[in-house]
Amino acid sequence: MKRPFGQLFLLFLLLILPLVIREAYYQHLMILVLMWVAIGSGWNLISGFTGQVLFGAAAFFGFGAYTAALLSSKLGLSAWWGLPLGGILSVAIAFPFGWICFRLRGPYFALATLALNEIFRHVATIWESLTDGMIGILVMQTFVSKAPYYYVALAIAVVSIVVIDRVMQSRWGYYFVSIREDQDAAESMGINTLYYKMLSLCISAFLIGITGALYTNYMGFIDPKVVFSLHDISIMAILVGIVGGVGTIYGPLVGAFIMVAVQEIFRSGGFGLLNFIGRSTGWPFMSSITKFVGDAHVLSFGILVIIVILFLPNGVVGDWPVIRKMFVRSKDQAV
């Protein structure tokens, strides 16, 4: 906002990135980061700015993903139609859900979203005639190269950030934050809190839903365990939001980078470092350590949340001045 120059430069870097980094593995990670930027931004709008904690982001993510997959498997259409449609249908779910559940406040709303997540996962598992259940759905990928997916993901991420930036400077944004700060005060200021909470949830659901649809197109395969995953999607969305900074426009961008990196470090055993040590030293216990670290990424998420809440309660972006001071001070001391 204040430095459009910096943002344009960042956008430029992101635009040329696939031309510079040609390795598919890193391009894949970048696509994941961009998808998490969109999901994290969606989460942040309803949870960070509007104060209604979304504990079941996977409900909308999976719904968008299945919309795209079913368009292809059942109707023979291109799964790309899932992008607009997955977003719109996620809104169609968010609307009645919000209408009912926004009568609940605080943790009860969060629990209701968790329930929605679980209900969808079970439905997608059980309704085999439609979804093939646990077998999942295979979708033909359109492109061999990763670059096209990268640019679609980039477009969605940029749109997410720009939309939320605009919204937060408008009347809607003021209303969202007022609701977060004090719902009773907001009501008595003439704000229809139910309506604006629903509006916020619908925008979030749209962003998360289209990202789900992109996921289907990109990965070419989905099953209920993956796209409705409580821990890999819903909790990851919360982490992206809080690590980056709850209620900040660029928080999800930073959070997505950090969280995808953390996830990848654990998944790959420190980018293969542990495997390498195991192989070169021949220590027999290295393989079990490697396996343990791989399994421990759930635990690592929990620890990360605790660290962030203790030391950076406003996230990396929200607490940037604090972080800077930390480094400046340690430099001073060194001198």
């Binding site: 009347r171 934050v177 009773d184 005060a185 009501e187 008595s188 200021m189 003439g190 704000i191």
Partner: protein, 240 residues
């Protein structure tokens, strides 16, 4: 037809009748004082007017329209602004943003809302705090922010719940000045206040309640000399 009227309103909390069949009227342009000992039901009456609690019985009529049953935001849209006894600042927003958020009720563009907010902040004497976070304000200014935010919704009727409680004598004078200034700008006011000096000097008309029931109604001097009121405030044995 009265500008504002409550008729036979009743509110139960479990078995306790916090408000039990209270009726009164307020004329346009006046300041109506609502008094009563602690726990007599004043805040509850405000919460009923404002739609924060549903009524168990009775009705609230504003400008010939029955407003009981509407939601708080609808009642605010009809033109009734309120403050909270326990202040509710939007803590992590600046004073300006607090007021802009409520100015958006009547102004649709950001620029217009900001202009109305700035005017209202100046009217209420908070200009000094415009860019401060609401949570950093001292209590007197928080109370004033409550009033400012309510005023920015451009109400026709303003209900003030103990906006002068906890102020020092100097702040008290300022608060009285502000309330008079609001009345002079054409806004009707219902005010709850414990400080008798305040309520007696500014009210055109006073309604006294005790245990959720109306005990007296009239001009400040009439009410002050009413034996029921004296008894409610000073106990049975008090002799003037």
């Amino acid at each position: 037809m009265a500008f504002f009227k409550v008729r036979e309103i009743v509110k139960f909390f479990g078995g306790l009748a916090a408000v039990n069949g209270v009726s009164f009227e307020v004329q346009e342009g006046e300041i109506c004082g609502l008094i009563g000992p602690n726990g007599s039901g004043k805040t509850t009456i405000f919460n009923l007017i404002n739609g924060y609690f549903p009524l168990n019985k009775g009705e609230v009529i504003f400008q010939n329209e029955k407003i009981s049953g509407l939601k708080p935001h609808q009642i605010c849209q009809r033109g009734i602004g309120r403050t909270f006894q326990v202040v509710k600042p939007l803590k992590r927003m600046s004073v300006l943003d607090n007021v802009i958020a409520s100015a958006f009720l009547r102004r649709h563009s950001r620029a217009e809302a900001q202009q109305l907010a700035e005017e209202t902040i100046e009217f209420c004497g908070l200009t000094h705090y415009t860019d401060k976070l609401a949570k950093s304000l001292p209590i007197a200014s928080r109370k004033r922010l409550e009033i400012t935010r309510a005023l920015a919704t451009l109400p026709k009727l303003l209900i003030l719940d103990e906006t002068a409680a906890g102020l020092n004598p100097h702040e008290l004078e300022e608060a009285i000045g502000l309330i008079k200034k609001i009345r002079d700008s054409g806004i009707t006011i219902i005010i709850v206040e414990h400080i008798m000096k305040v309520i007696m000097t500014i009210s055109d008309h006073i309604v006294a309640i005790n245990h959720g029931r109306l005990i007296a109604r009239g001009t400040p001097t009439e009410v002050a000399s009413n034996p029921e009121v004296v008894k409610a405030y000073f106990g049975e044995d008090y002799r003037a």
